[in-house]
């Protein structure tokens, strides 16, 4: 399989690169000085694209690769892949579900705790060497707070299971009601926001869910509400969120994703009720390796004409 060209869209993981290089002719798209020339040179050897949350396979890329057979995404999210175009051209698509569910759910709870209990600020205070007895700040208890989840898929359910261990009542919004879960369903995101203390975005990014967190939802969540986003930056109307936080109309936010990563609105840097992470929802050695193994497994299965492990298309 060493002659098969695999185009990796951006630098994503050293282990993945090394394993791909052992098996295929790995072409690193991000190192090309002139992208269109690069594609023209290699277009007849590229039979696979490996993408991720930052760089996938849009219509333009797909059209420029006549021999493309499979897009294997190093993510569970598919928002950077033109699925319709892939279906049209008979190109297979795979992603990395399940192996990353735990890490994303763990981080969601970690963000909730960090925002409510202000651990990052506590740590900063101790590190400043200014701790003196008699200096007290009160924060907000997490146990028992109502958690509202947008999207009750794998990640949403994993968040719910963890939050329940903290006696948090679970409310949710989903495309369809899930009566088997016994969680309280709300037919709209605004109503969900008005009826929870902490709102978590755990759905996939599609045309329908773009800016699902808008001014109306932020207002409903309110001065004591907290927003946690471990989905995609574009789930949130970012300028609206920033002004709500700066103007204290929203209680706090824990954000792992942003509309224009790695750019993060600087107005948020000084806010002690906001925790900002550099898209590390799946950022553990264990999970990235499991994701990489799935990408490799899917590519090998495809080129060996075996059933794909985690096909989407």
């Amino acid at each position: 399989m060493k002659s098969i060209g695999v185009l990796m869209t951006c630098h994503m993981d050293s282990y993945l690169e090394q394993e791909l290089e052992k098996r295929f002719n790995l072409l690193r798209f991000w190192t090309a000085t002139e992208k269109s020339t690069f594609l023209a040179t290699h277009k007849n050897s590229i039979r696979a694209v490996v993408g991720n949350a930052f760089g996938g396979a849009d219509a333009e890329l797909i059209e420029s690769l006549p021999k493309l057979e499979i897009v294997a995404s190093f993510s569970v999210g598919l928002d950077k892949i033109d699925l319709a175009k892939c279906k049209e051209k008979g190109i297979r698509v795979t992603n990395t579900p399940d192996v990353l569910t735990d890490d994303v759910a763990d981080l969601s709870i970690g963000l909730m705790l960090a925002v409510l209990r202000k651990l990052c600020e506590s740590d900063r205070y101790v590190r400043s060497d200014k701790w003196k007895k008699g200096d007290y700040t009160l924060t907000t208890k997490f146990t028992g707070k109502t958690v509202g989840i947008i999207g009750l898929g794998r990640i949403g359910m994993a968040v719910a299971k963890r939050a329940e261990a903290f006696s948090c009542p679970i409310h949710y919004y989903s495309r369809t009601e899930k009566p088997e879960t016994k969680y309280k369903y709300y037919p709209s995101v605004v109503e969900l926001a008005a009826n929870c203390d902490i709102l978590v975005v755990a759905c996939s990014l599609t045309e329908e869910t773009r800016h699902i967190i808008d001014r109306e939802v932020i207002d409903a969540l309110g001065r004591k509400g907290v927003l946690i986003n471990v989905g995609r930056g574009r789930h949130v109307d970012e300028p609206e969120l920033v002004s709500a936080l700066v103007e204290c109309r929203l209680g706090g936010a824990g954000l792992d994703v942003f509309e224009h990563e790695p750019e993060v609105p600087e107005e948020l840097f000084g806010l002690d009720n906001v925790v900002l992470l550099p898209h590390v929802g799946t950022g553990t050695v264990e999970t990235r390796q499991a994701m990489a193994d799935l990408v490799i497994g899917n590519l090998e299965a495809h080129f060996q004409k075996k059933p794909l492990l985690t096909p989407v298309v």
Binding site: D102, L119, C120, W131, T139, K141, E263, G283
Partner: protein, 339 residues
């Protein structure tokens, strides 16, 4: 003028509750936080008299003390108060109270009960996720504007599947276990006594527990037996991939040894809410990204303080009405801390 009778006690008729030092609750909420119509406070810290003289002056009238973690109730204090029958503390820990002397004198002690357990357990989970997933360090990284210039942040370690070892499976330890099980952690513990009804693996000593876990969580009381319980041998058994979380008391850990292990990379990381000599914290820790620290504030939430107010006032009112205390400590079951 209304006739003087027992239904309308004047301030001077109300029984005294002695407060030795200004409690954190008063600092945050003001000095009426524990007010009640059934008793009044005698504030030693407001007097210009040295404490022993103050106690001598008020010895006969004091039946109860309201203590907080920073206001020890020593044998010396107790012996100056012949009518003392109750100590109420606002803290979870009891190590600042001479429990042996209380038992000897027949003085009841009322603690925080279980009101702080949820917040303590939440703090453990928060510290553990932060250390493993580098939350505070990554937040610093982003807020310093480094993401766009320096690119990807180093990978953390998955919480799911980690073996968690709890030192002290009391109420707080049990709440920690319940939470971490939901994250896919396996739980084992060491406690003074094995608990037969509990589904977790028991290790008879802390060294063995440390050798068989990835995250060692300190949830026990500070007593003579647990002073420096976490020492060089235990930390070595915990090993290079191990994490330690301490929300109990600083002196349970040999801090010098812990700092050395962290600086030399002999353990993976630490989450610490407590230190041996608060508010002093070893400066070597400030440069370490694998250490997360908080200023002994695991229970400092609005909700817990409201629960505390109810329980302190409730215990004192019950005492002065000759009713059972809400959260009496069983002194026969409490090991001593010599301090």
């Amino acid at each position: 003028m209304a006739p003087h009778n027992n239904s309308y006690p004047s301030q001077h008729d109300l029984p005294n509750v002695l407060i030795l030092k200004l409690p954190p609750s008063f600092v945050i909420f003001g000095e009426h936080f524990f007010d009640s119509a059934k008793f009044r406070f005698l504030k030693a810290y407001e007097s210009s008299l040295p404490l022993p003289q103050f106690l001598l002056a008020h010895a006969q009238s004091v039946q109860a003390i309201l203590s907080s973690g920073g206001a020890p109730v020593t044998a010396d204090t107790i012996c100056l108060l012949p009518n003392l029958r109750l100590v109420v503390t606002t803290s979870q820990g009891l190590n600042h109270i001479d429990l042996s002397e209380c038992r000897r004198r027949g003085i009841a002690v009322a603690g925080a009960g279980t009101i702080f357990s949820a917040d303590c357990a939440d703090s453990v989970v928060e510290l553990l996720i932060d250390v493993l997933r580098k939350v505070s360090a990554a937040n610093r990284f982003v807020k310093q504007g480094l993401w766009s210039s320096q690119g990807d942040y180093p990978l953390g370690s998955k919480l799911g599947g980690k073996r968690v070892g709890i030192v002290g499976l009391g109420n707080i330890g049990s709440e920690v276990a319940k939470r971490l099980e939901a994250f896919g952690c396996s739980i084992s513990y060491n406690s003074r006594n094995k608990k037969p009804s509990v589904p977790y693996a028991f290790y008879p000593n802390v060294g063995e527990l440390a050798a068989n876990c990835d995250a060692l969580i300190i949830c026990c009381a500070l007593t003579d037996e647990t002073y420096h319980l976490i020492n060089k041998e235990v930390l070595s058994a915990l090993g290079k991939d191990g994490v330690i979380i301490n929300i109990a008391r600083g002196p349970i850990v040999d801090e010098k040894e812990l700092v050395r292990c962290l600086v030399e990379g002999e353990i993976r990381g630490a989450g610490l809410d407590v230190f041996e000599h608060e508010p002093d914290v070893p400066h070597e820790l400030f440069a370490l990204d694998n250490v997360v620290m908080s200023p002994h504030n695991a229970v400092f939430t609005r909700e817990s303080f409201e629960d505390l107010r109810k329980i302190v006032v409730g215990n004192l009112e019950a005492f002065f009405s000759n009713e059972p205390l809400l959260t009496a400590v069983n002194l026969d079951d409490q090991p001593h801390f010599s301090g």
